[in-house]
Amino acid sequence: MKNRLRVLRAERDWSQQQLADRLEVSRQSVNAIETGRYDPSLPLAFRIAEVFELAIEDIFQREA
């Protein structure tokens, strides 16, 4: 699964740690999701969408 986490974070000028604090997860989690090594669960994907005030499909896309 592809995601736009790094771009969205950069647009808001947030560090990985700042995003992690907002999501109440570890910085490693943010890094693993950003780099595509880990796909988040549905509840965490919803939390990410809430933090960015976007729909899940605006952040996560299926690989072509």
Partner: protein, 205 residues
Amino acid sequence: MTASSENALRSSVPLWAGLTFASFGAVMGLALSDAIDSTTAMILLIVPAALFFQTMRAANRAANNRAPCSAKGEAQQRYIKRVVVFSSAYLVAIALQVSLLSDGDPSTAARVALALLPAFAIIGVFWAIGRLIVEEQDEFLRMLIVRQALIATGFALAAATLWGFLESTGVVIHLDAYWWAVAWFFGQFVGAIANRIGYGTWGAL
């Protein structure tokens, strides 16, 4: 060496954990080969114990650096405290075993009690890992811990199976079964390396 690299060295959990296991293995190797007597082994066990505490301190520092105010940090700190308690109990139990078994011929009940004390301390560490899996709120870290434990289980079971068949053909010496718990803990390191390769982080154990 610069201050930052010195600090990184002090906070390196794999380094301290590796030194702990290496020193423990060296002491056990010397004891099992009768190069040193049990009393000397008991005294020398202070070295891996001290290194182990340093490992726990480094792990605690790393956990604080990662997420100072999240529930994840709290679960890991509880885990570290539990492991310190059970590891200390283990060392005391081993010390009691060595000193009491060498003094004459204790009763069967006393032998059973002396055998069960270190066993329960090790089981306590297994329980602490189980509680960490239950209490860890960060799903990614929880996945890493589960993955690491599964790799350790596979490693220990594979080692036990291989050794068992080799032992039945008389190729290798007999090993007491508690060594498979040691193999499992060693397997945790294999699991941590696998996590590092697969997910870019050593994990949370």
